[in-house]
Symmetry: C2
Subunit: 193 residues, 2 copies
Amino acid sequence: MAKASDSKEKTLAAAAKLFRQQGYHGTALHDILEAGGSPRGSLYFHFPGGKEEIGQAALTLAGEAVRAAIASAADASDNAESFLVRIVRGMAADLERSGFKEGCPIATSALETSAQSEALGAASRNAFQKWELEIKRGLFRFGMPAGEADLAATMVLSQLEGALLLARTYRSIEPIHRAEQAVKLLARGRGSE
Amino acid sequence: MAKASDSKEKTLAAAAKLFRQQGYHGTALHDILEAGGSPRGSLYFHFPGGKEEIGQAALTLAGEAVRAAIASAADASDNAESFLVRIVRGMAADLERSGFKEGCPIATSALETSAQSEALGAASRNAFQKWELEIKRGLFRFGMPAGEADLAATMVLSQLEGALLLARTYRSIEPIHRAEQAVKLLARGRGSE
DNA sequence: TACATATTATGAAGGTCGACATACCGATTT
DNA sequence: AAATCGGTATGTCGACCTTCATAATATGTA
């Protein structure tokens, strides 16, 4: 048989990048193949499910990458505040480095597709849930009670996602700077009610 | 001339709704015409700029509607906390009523298009900026210092947008409930740094 | 009142691009 | 040497955005 090529991995990586930048519907299969350097026909061999299957796989891949990044941010920190700040700064760096083209790798596709495709919706859901869980773990690890950490993790993720959206739209990292402050407030613990 | 019909307004309203639910690229001109009840050909008469012009107009319309809603939430409240809570609850109600199909009317299209279309990017930017300003005004009105209100407005909007994204993806309003708590914390004033 | 004209509105057709299916090639294994 | 399996190239069908020729109505003029 022909060599077990790496074209599948390259295709997937290219797909994840393009979905991140242009969303699901804004990305043509043709673009993915071209960016990945793979020949046109090999697509339906690797992904019999077509575009939806590629989307699912790309979302899962990107989701896992971010999850790992959050986990390693926790490892590199020694308190809740620096943990969250590290995550925020990482996102800001990604966004700025890419010329404000690469924000959250899931958000765009999630908004576009989660209402109409069960498979893509599930992939987005899984990614976000894993992130929330990883943030919760980090906060718990640095001393926040589990119940509180669960709530705070959602708030932190919302804050991050919203800031990424505004930053991308404004083409400015200012919203992310502000999110950093907001997130510090959340790290410090919630109010009394 | 033919009667000055209301088909332009109906088309625009239908477009705004569809863009909100399915995003820009996920919505075909054909769908818009059908939903608006307008005949196929009348589109390029009302909107010579084609799909991009419709998108711009729809985004502007939706942006103004939300701005007005924020302003009236301020009028109906007598302190910062209830002002923000009112906004959050309004969004939650919209989302739930629509079966988790109608979240932020701008976010999806903004993420999809603001990198590639100057016109659509500007429309999204304007909408978000107006919202931020309106939130800032409300917070200032209820006693928050202007500088602080400016920062807090961005944080509040980020929190809201992120919560809307998560809620839509999870098909659950729980993230919005949590955002309500987070936003109360922000209303109370930021920390010391 | 009748006609001409400019403006508003409409339906159908065209051309491009996208997703997908199928037919094909080469290498490895028996 | 033949068959099978991993991988590739071409072709088809449909959807989408856009344009254009045409109709309908209102306004101006005689």
